[in-house]
């Protein structure tokens, strides 16, 4: 023990304890629902022609499920690399304000920048919701350890789940296999509706869900981009109009 003990990093044992509490926080209803959504994603990735390694790799490096699903959707409709990247980027802009909101909650007085950059990779809807709920009950200097436990466990668990489902999916009877492929659209149909913060979100959903297949028939390869931009701007216009009148 040196004189400036109070200034140095907290005990490693304490860090580990908070990391483990973060791990435990993943065993929750949101964590369970996310895992069942990744079960659906694994079936989808398999049908899109991805290999097991590619599907697990995609889960780990992309992580946010909507971005994963948009990427597989782009692969399915034969998009070029540029069009796929653009569609995924457009579907993921919202990660930026989520991180912006999370960083001040998570940062300790002496947290290095690189730790925040590394931890930001775990940000997706589920870990973000769990963190925003729980972080305030965690001592400030321990919050990065807690979120590291929470985020890494969610990512690793779902990578394993994707691998297992990928292996099983081939031997399922046709009815079960079809049911597996309906999981992803149903998950997003309901969760997207529920998470919309303003009515414009519902308008965007209705337009997008109709324009997606319509554009797919006319301009495959650019269907997602076109539907996203047209639906997004139309819904935004609706938002401005309503606010103007109110």
């Amino acid at each position: 023990m040196t004189d400036d003990a109070a200034d140095t990093d907290p005990e490693p044992a304490s860090r580990r304890a908070w990391y483990l509490r973060g791990v435990r926080a993943t065993f929750s209803i949101p964590g369970f629902i996310l895992t069942s959504a990744f079960v659906g994603f694994a079936g989808l990735a398999r049908e899109a022609g991805l290999t097991l390694a590619e599907a697990v790799f995609m889960t780990g490096v992309v992580w946010a499920l909507p971005a994963n699903v948009v990427l597989v959707g782009a692969i399915l409709s034969g998009s070029s690399l540029a069009a796929a990247a653009f569609a995924v980027a457009l579907s993921s802009v919202r990660l930026m304000p989520m991180v912006v909101a999370l960083v001040p909650e998570m940062r300790g007085s002496r947290t290095p920048r690189w730790v925040l950059y590394a931890l930001s990779h775990f940000v997706a809807v589920t870990s973000w919701v769990l963190a925003m709920e729980n972080l305030r009950h965690v001592p400030r200097e321990m919050r990065t350890s807690y979120y590291a436990g929470l985020g890494s466990t969610l990512v690793l668990t779902n990578m394993v789940v994707v691998a297992i489902v990928f292996l099983i999916a081939g031997s399922l009877p046709p009815a079960a296999s079809a049911a597996l492929l309906l999981l992803t659209p149903m998950y997003f149909l309901t969760s997207l509706w529920g998470s919309a913060r303003e009515q414009a979100g519902h308008v965007a959903m209705l337009i997008g869900i109709v324009l997606g297949p319509a554009f797919h028939a006319i301009i495959p390869g650019f269907d997602l981009l076109a539907a996203g931009l047209v639906g997004g701007f139309a819904a935004y216009g609706f938002h401005r109009l309503r606010r103007g009148r109110a």
Binding site: L116, Y117, W193
Partner: protein, 116 residues
């Protein structure tokens, strides 16, 4: 350059890295960089959310209307009915995600077994 454009083991991984990892983590890193400098309620973020929502909704629409694999062997009417009734059940029964999923799945499986 599509996903199957180059027949090597590394091309799909490069495709995933550029179109997947870079296209998502760039936003996360920008969020760290900006720190607490943007308000969640600013108007531009409404547009960000509506575009993202419409994009994911377009994927949902495609997955239901133009599915792949075993789901492609079912009729469009059955898929639309299962998804539609599932969604109505979600809306009517307390907006629980799990309710919508279970109702839609049950209808789909019943429909397949009954030969629709």
């Amino acid at each position: 350059m599509t996903f199957d454009a180059i027949d090597t083991w590394w091309w799909p991984f490069l495709f995933i890295l550029v179109a997947g990892w870079l296209a998502t983590d760039a936003w996360r890193f920008l969020g760290v960089y900006l720190g607490g400098r943007i308000s969640e309620n600013s108007d531009i973020l409404v547009l960000v959310r509506t575009i993202a929502t419409a994009l994911v909704a377009a994927v949902i629409g495609n997955l239901i209307v133009f599915p792949s694999g075993a789901l492609a062997d079912t009729s469009l009417v059955l898929r639309l009915a299962a998804a539609g009734v599932g969604f109505l059940a979600y809306l009517g029964l307390g907006k629980k995600v799990i309710v919508g999923i279970v109702v839609a799945e049950l209808l789909l499986i019943m429909g397949i077994l009954l030969g629709f």
